[in-house]
């Protein structure tokens, strides 16, 4: 009668060395997982160093604000007690004069002037002029009077507010500017002045152009994918090569080819004129039309392949069943076939849109200044004007948009199911 109520001494299964099997299995499982992770580790570290850390430091640079803090250390200490309304007190002026002399010697005046010029136009030349007049000899009784006498702008609180606004190492200045906003004189977030407010338009243009490219790609790719998926394998493989050949051809080759085709003496214009459609060459390249044509050409394989692979898995019997049950063929297509392809359409559409919003080369070579997307401005601020703050702020916002879309993509499609060739 010692059946179930009696305590069972060590009824667990054990291995030979007396360790419970459960523990041992768990340990083996854990070891296995560690081994898997160890295989992924080299790549993870590699990407961390070449990709993730650089992008992280890019994001950091978009709020980085070292110039004023580095060049005017005494001024920002003195200016912290200023009420920001009337003119700053004498110690601020004195500290400023001393800092400026030092900055002139250390040759940091250029960076400082460039930074403050973004806040108030003309600041750079004002600093240069002032630095050249310093140090005052003999030392004046009032630095305030002396500086205002040198240039009356030193009697305008706006110039001192610009310094006070930048007395920390971090600033939302660039990110706000990339969204057409700024911090106004009283420290509130306000809309940027119309001549500065250009970036929201650039973002809107980027999304709009990407949407157009995605829609055109879809309209052209869907019928073609349907054909490829329903032809006998031998034929469809042959036609598939026609899709994959441009996919494997260098983007620059395709851009060059489109310039040749679309230029005013090119084949397309000659054909249009020979057909009597137009009597003078149309402007088809170095404008929006050229960018659309080339982007659709470059991105269409990314639309065709996912739709094709979904269509390949759809049995034709469903459509036949619908028709045999009395549905109109068009109705059957729309109600029975199309819904089964939505996954492919979503995957292709998202992928094309994600890739479009980052486009740089095609608009840069085939578009006019009015057809440039966000990437162009990132490159412009990096290479041409060397404004790291604006380059990284625009880049950071573009990256954020891309990552949000990519997360949607991973969630809907699964990152590992990105289809290639």
């Amino acid at each position: 009668m010692m059946a179930s109520s009696a305590p069972m001494p060590d009824h667990q299964l054990t291995t030979q060395d007396g360790v419970p099997l459960k523990t041992k299995l768990a340990r083996a499982e854990r070891m296995n997982k560690m081994k898997s992770l160890a295989l992924v580790l080299p790549l993870a570290l590699f990407l961390l160093l070449t990709f993730i850390v650089p992008i992280g430091s890019l994001l950091f640079r978009s709020v980085d604000n070292p110039e004023v803090v580095a060049s005017l250390p005494h001024t920002i200490k003195a200016i912290s007690s200023w009420d920001g309304k009337s003119l700053p007190p004498e110690p601020v002026y004195r500290a400023f004069a001393a800092d400026l002399v030092k900055a002139h010697e250390d040759q940091t005046l250029g960076d400082l002037g460039k930074r403050l010029n973004m806040e108030v136009a003309g600041y750079r030349s004002l600093l240069g002029k002032t630095a050249r007049a310093l140090p005052f000899d003999p030392a004046p009784a009032s630095y305030k009077d002396a500086l205002v006498k040198l240039d009356e702008r030193w009697g305008d609180p706006a110039y001192w507010q610009a310094i006070r606004r930048n007395s920390t190492n971090h600033t939302p200045f660039y990110l706000l500017a990339a969204l057409d906003h700024r911090i106004d004189e009283v420290g509130e977030v306000a809309k940027a002045t119309p001549d500065q407010a250009i970036y929201l338009d650039v973002f809107a243009r980027t999304f709009w152009m990407s949407a157009i490219v995605t829609v055109i790609c879809l309209l052209l790719a869907y019928p073609l994918a349907y054909l490829l998926a329903n032809l006998p394998t031998r034929k469809s493989n042959l036609l598939m090569i026609m899709v994959l050949l441009p996919f494997w051809t260098s983007v620059l080759v395709r851009v060059a080819a489109w310039i040749v085709l679309l230029q005013s003496g090119g084949l397309i214009n000659s054909a249009l004129m020979a057909l009597g459609i137009t009597d003078h060459p149309l402007q088809l390249v170095f404008n929006r039309t050229g960018v659309y044509i080339a982007m659709v050409h470059i991105l269409m394989p990314f639309m065709i392949l996912p739709i094709y692979s979904v269509m390949k898995g759809i049995s034709p019997t469903y459509l036949r069943a619908a028709v045999s049950l009395g549905s109109h063929p068009f109705g059957a297509f729309w109600k029975v076939y199309f819904p089964q392809t939505v996954a492919g359409v979503g995957a292709g559409g998202l992928l094309v849109f994600i890739l479009s919003i980052g486009y740089y080369i095609t608009p840069a070579l085939l578009g006019s200044p009015n057809d440039q997307m966000v990437s162009y401005f990132v490159a412009f601020y990096t290479n041409t004007t060397i404004n790291w703050g604006m380059a990284t702020a625009l880049g950071g916002l573009l990256l954020a948009a891309t990552l949000v879309l990519y997360m949607v993509y991973s969630w809907l499609v699964g990152a590992s199911r990105l289809r290639l060739g």
Partner: protein, 276 residues
């Protein structure tokens, strides 16, 4: 697809669909082909009609120090980046498919992200990070960045190949006394080779066609073939560029045919399990 019972409207749709698909295919292929004859044309203008056969643009290409240097650079950078991407990517793909663990999907998304992050951002970030270390304008950095861009392709293709891989084969090898390394090279690798090679081809293609990161990272010394083409197209679209383009097209055809052959081979292997 066509059957004798179609109504006239259905027939019209059938032909409309065929015509539209045909035009789309022409739209995809013709631009690539149209530049080839121009590279053999003697005129120095890139316009049709052709005026006469000439090899002078190829001569120009192969005798220009600048083009030759860029070709050499591409042939240094792309294979090196491919080897790096192939090794790291294959290891990671094997690790990702042999067990289930938490955060696997997230890790996968992260490893594939270089494919979707705008290249301008990768380029600027790379420059901002490597220039202060004195590592910009070097082959080493360019190769590293190109490998990072190519890695997702290897991860994707090898993971896909491993999906159909029978892990019992590795267990069998282990039970017969093979070391993990030996069983990888003798059992796993030969079976997943088509995936590894097609991933490598994608990685190679990525590096061989990469221009944006190169603009930011490379100095004039490291300018690759696409970089030289970029400047060429921007300044003056000459027939020498058409010659370079034709060579690149020939190269893509070779890559594409290799890939198709590999895919055909992989499909045959998969569809005849009895022999596998």
């Amino acid at each position: 697809m066509q059957n004798p019972y179609m109504s006239p409207i259905e027939k019209a749709w059938f032909y409309l669909h065929r015509t539209l698909s045909g035009l789309t295919l022409l739209f995809l292929v013709l631009p690539v082909l149209v530049i080839i004859p121009l590279s053999f044309n003697e005129s120095s203008f890139l316009v049709y009609p052709l005026t006469g056969f000439s090899m002078r643009w190829y001569h120009d290409f192969f005798t220009s120090a600048e083009w030759m240097r860029s070709l050499k650079n591409s042939l240094i950078v792309a294979p090196s980046a491919t080897v790096l991407a192939m090794v790291f990517g294959t290891l990671a793909a094997v690790g990702l498919t042999r067990t289930e663990f938490r955060g696997k999907a997230l890790l996968m998304s992260l490893l594939i992200s270089p494919m979707v992050v705008p290249v301008v951002i990768v380029g600027v970030a790379g420059y901002l990070f490597f220039a202060p270390l004195g590592m910009d304008a070097s082959y080493f950095t360019l190769i590293l960045m190109h490998a990072a861009l190519g890695v997702p392709f290897v991860v994707i293709t090898v993971t896909a190949t491993l999906q159909g891989f029978n892990h019992n084969l590795v267990r069998a090898a282990a039970s017969l006394g093979a070391s993990p390394l030996r069983s990888f090279f003798k059992v796993t690798l030969p079976l997943i080779a088509p995936g590894v090679i097609s991933g490598a081809l994608f990685a190679f293609g990525t590096s061989f066609d990469e221009v944006v990161v190169t603009i930011f990272i490379a100095g004039p010394e490291q300018a690759t073939l696409p970089r030289a083409m970029f400047s060429g197209i921007r300044e003056n679209l000459s027939p020498t560029i058409a010659a370079a383009a034709t060579l690149l097209i020939a190269f893509s055809v070779v890559m594409l045919l290799t890939l198709e052959w590999l895919r055909g081979r992989g499909e045959r292997l998969r569809t005849s399990p009895a022999k596998a």
